[in-house]
């Protein structure tokens, strides 16, 4: 958790994915499907708790038409992605996006439990 994150300097949106450039000169590609499947909102998160519902969520996302999202910063700590279709609720901390960029589980294996941590 205490890992020092490089600062995201550039986010280039492409048709199917986005290229992230950090201030340590590293560059990563994150697909929109991966990004949307990792949505941290209260609707999507519980669906990742079980394998079946996680697969179903993935299928739902993959069936959506390809589109470039609108991206906005949330303070200095997160990004929000606005889509024409599908869920746009999640606020993605930079730490979460960095996990996705590095192909790590952004939930760190923890199941989502609403309000009872």
């Amino acid at each position: 958790m205490a890992e020092t994150l490089p600062t995201l300097k550039k986010l280039e949106r492409r048709k199917q994915d986005m290229i992230l450039t950090y201030d340590d000169e590293t560059t990563y590609t994150v697909t929109y499907d991966d990004l949307r499947h990792a949505c941290p909102c209260a609707k999507c998160s519980p669906l990742r708790n079980e394998d079946d519902s996680a697969r179903s969520l993935r299928r739902q996302i993959e069936s959506l038409p390809a589109e470039k999202p609108t991206v906005r910063t949330i303070g200095k700590y997160a990004l929000a992605f606005e889509w024409q279709q599908g869920c746009s609720s999640g606020i993605y901390r930079f730490e979460r996006i960095y996990d996705l960029a590095n192909r790590r589980d952004p939930d760190r294996g923890k199941p989502y439990v609403h309000g009872a941590w």
């Binding site: 300097k9 280039e12 993605y92």
Partner: protein, 361 residues
């Protein structure tokens, strides 16, 4: 008879033609008119149950519209939360509201802590009742003109607990949002009960365009652990974290001694703090009663802003009990200054362009 032909049943015909008037009609004689309860043209009215459902749907729609209207009239909406109880959340909420009011903003506080509403007492509004006009609730006005809505105003006596199950509680919250005549506000500060339960979820879903949440914590590990939950909670609510405030951060002891005297004070954790009295014979030492810097560390760990530390000030306890908030009784005091800094940090977060220089293509 000619006059009677003028009376018609809509879409059916005249009273005479449809047989509502029968028998001989003579001048100056009474006529018999058979008025049907329901004409063939009009369908049977809704049942009592349907009527009730329609009324409920109408009330819900009206409330939703009212909530949207309120959303437009209030420029900034700030939620104040903590994962743990007893960290001084209501003190921080009232402090933020008063500090903003000191700067000349119009401010309201919505006390959503239904089970333990303390805000009215802190705002000098103990025992007050709300004014209701044309079905709209008008907030009470506390110190510096801050508008206050709280469940405490509806309680018969303060010793009676509110024992409500979820749906009733949530209905009350929606009513507190939709049926209150706030007027134009620069800021609405919403004070929640501790934890990450239904109340913030209901507010986040009911009130549009919430700017963000302020997480209140104290420096000790247990409180920090819970504030981490609150930060994670914000992601699921789609409400940004404006930042973390560390309350009860340090207690400053002020004293006098002969100029140049070295003063030693026994501090928590077996530490000894030393300081030297200045040329005027004054000295001050800050004791970190609940450790120090935990709020800042949590903020850094989660990459959210740290809004500032508020001192441990016994004056808040007295002020809370007497109904005169510390910021009101000592507007230039150390606590008021600390609150002003926190407010400044919040305003910086609310301003546009806080993107850290990220280029989005």
């Amino acid at each position: 008879m000619a006059m009677l032909t003028l009376f018609r049943v809509p879409e059916t015909g005249g009273w005479v033609e449809v047989g509502m008037i029968r028998g001989p009609i003579m001048a100056d004689s009474p006529v018999s008119i058979n008025l049907p309860v329901a004409s063939n043209a009009a369908p049977a009215g809704p049942s009592a149950q349907e009527q009730k459902q329609m009324e409920q749907a109408y009330a819900q729609m009206k409330r939703k519209m009212a909530m949207e209207e309120i959303g437009r009239k209030i420029k900034h909406k700030i939620m104040v939360l903590s994962g743990k109880g007893g960290v001084g959340k209501s003190t921080v909420s009232t402090g933020l509201a008063l500090s903003l009011a000191q700067q000349g903003f119009t401010v309201g506080i919505l006390d959503i802590d239904i089970t333990g509403p303390n805000v009215p007492k802190m705002m000098g509004l103990d025992g007050r009742r709300l004014h209701v006009e044309n079905g709209r609730i008008h907030p009470a006005q506390g110190h510096l003109g801050v508008k206050v809505i709280s469940m405490a105003f509806l309680l018969e006596d303060e010793d009676t607990p509110v024992v409500w199950r979820g749906p009733i509680k949530l209905g009350a919250i929606q009513q507190f949002i939709g049926d209150v005549e706030w007027g134009e506000l620069d800021y609405l500060v919403i004070d929640f009960p501790p934890g990450t339960s239904d109340e913030p979820l209901t507010v986040a879903q009911s009130l549009p365009d919430i700017d963000g949440m302020v997480i209140v914590t104290t420096p000790q590990q247990v409180a920090l652990l819970d504030s981490r939950k609150s930060i994670t909670f914000s992601e699921s609510l789609k409400v940004p974290v404006l930042g973390v405030v560390e309350n009860m951060s340090g207690f400053t002891v002020n004293g006098t001694a002969a100029p140049g005297t070295e003063v030693s004070i026994a501090a928590p954790g077996g530490k000894t703090l030393t300081t030297t009295a200045d040329d005027g014979g004054k000295f001050s030492v800050t004791l970190d009663i609940f450790k120090e810097g935990g709020g800042k560390e949590t903020a850094q760990e989660f990459g959210v802003p740290f809004l500032g530390a508020l001192p441990f000030d016994p004056g808040f306890v007295r002020g809370g009990d007497d109904g005169v908030h510390r910021i009101v009784s000592e507007p230039e005091g150390a606590s008021a200054v600390a609150f002003a800094k926190v407010v400044e940090a919040i305003q910086e977060q609310l301003s546009d362009g806080a993107d850290g220089g990220l280029e989005i293509i």
